[in-house]
Symmetry: C2
Subunit: 232 residues, 2 copies
């Protein structure tokens, strides 16, 4: 009986996988707003109402895609980091930056779903926050390990962070242990700077202005690395 129940479960899981695959493909061509359950159903030769057996609403399908997306970019970042020498902290940071940018360029609509404007009327459920931090955890580990190795020497240029921020710094330190409030703040600058750069490129703010985007990106990420105090 366990096997038979698994049989049904298996075809169900298979269908769910197929639905998300088709939805992802449609997402890539039409964008998040053009994602329609009816169209997905049509693509699989299913009647529109049947799809509600698998995803009770459009938002649930969206949630599945978001979780998959976070896991995909998280995995991309993890493998990029893993390919570097452990003590090449700047190289690891740069690899993470390029992994984020490359994944974003390869999956623009999925990236927009994760880091762009929230889909109107859609509220991200709790299930997304776990996968959502996979990439950030890799980043935090790099900083922490650089700190622990004594290779993190942030140049004295930023003002001291206001003491008010130490409680927030504690929260950040859960993914980036062992660093000072100052490094936490710089860490947020670099991390948001990375995504700010990717957003500008992807969302069109660089159109007709910046042509050598990869080069500028890499150079700017090195600037942020210097701000972080990673070795040159």
């Amino acid at each position: 009986m366990n096997a038979s129940r698994t049989a049904r479960e298996r075809v169900r899981a298979e269908l769910i996988r197929e639905i998300t695959d088709i939805a992802r493909r449609r997402l890539a061509t039409e964008g998040a707003g053009g994602l329609s359950l009816r169209a997905v159903a049509r693509d699989m030769g299913m009647v529109s109402s049947a799809i509600y057996r698998y995803f009770p609403s459009r938002d649930d399908l969206l949630t599945a895609l978001i979780i998959d997306g976070y896991n995909a970019i998280g995995e991309a970042v993890e493998t990029a980091d893993a390919a570097c020498a452990r003590d090449d902290f700047t190289g690891r940071w740069l690899a993470v930056c390029h992994a984020v940018r490359t994944w974003a360029l390869d999956h623009p609509h999925e990236y927009a779903l994760l880091y762009g404007s929230p889909v109107p009327g859609y509220q991200a459920p709790e299930d997304t926050i776990g996968p959502a931090s996979r990439d950030t955890m890799v980043y935090g580990r790099i900083i922490s390990e650089a700190q622990a190795a004594g290779r993190l020497n942030p140049p004295a240029m930023c003002p001291a962070p206001p003491g008010l921020l130490s409680s927030d710094a504690d929260a950040v330190r859960s993914v980036m242990p062992g660093v000072s409030d100052d490094v936490v703040a710089r860490g947020v600058v670099a991390w948001t700077g990375l995504f700010g750069m990717v957003n500008f490129e992807l969302f069109g703010q660089f159109n007709n202005v910046i042509r050598h985007r990869r080069e500028l990106f890499e150079h700017n990420m090195l600037c942020l690395a210097a701000l972080l105090g990673l070795p040159a």
Copy 2:
């Protein structure tokens, strides 16, 4: 005849203004995806088809809102900058940062329309690129004037920008004349860093992590000011 034609034109212009006002109000509550011409028409006691006399398509209405939005944030940035002493370059930068952030928090959906993911299926027409750079021009002027006043002393920490980037730097220098390639690159870092920070706050990446957002924002913008070489 000129007066009468003007009379007609006047009521037409008045209606267009009313439509965009209502659309903006709906945008604020429903978001870009929920912007519906029929709903706007209903709000003004108009039959849905009549609205197409004024905006031939939903995208045209969106374009109008985008242009208005760029002008609004541009104006906010301009007045914030104008309120500062001309030679307080760091203060002007900080004022610009806060103006962007405050405007974004006050008009989240409009901001998302401008700096968030592009609306699927919507292609921004040429008319938007002028107003789109109002805020950037203020920013560029601050950097240029600081440079001209000899108050821009970027700390030696970034690597030299690759020569490949000098053509892109020329393009950027059209809004930020008189600065080196190095300053151009740092300028892009700071500008994208500003919007990266605002995006993270607005799009939810700081949820459950950062509580003192204004304080962290200001501190981080000061870090970026230091990276730019603005006086402390």
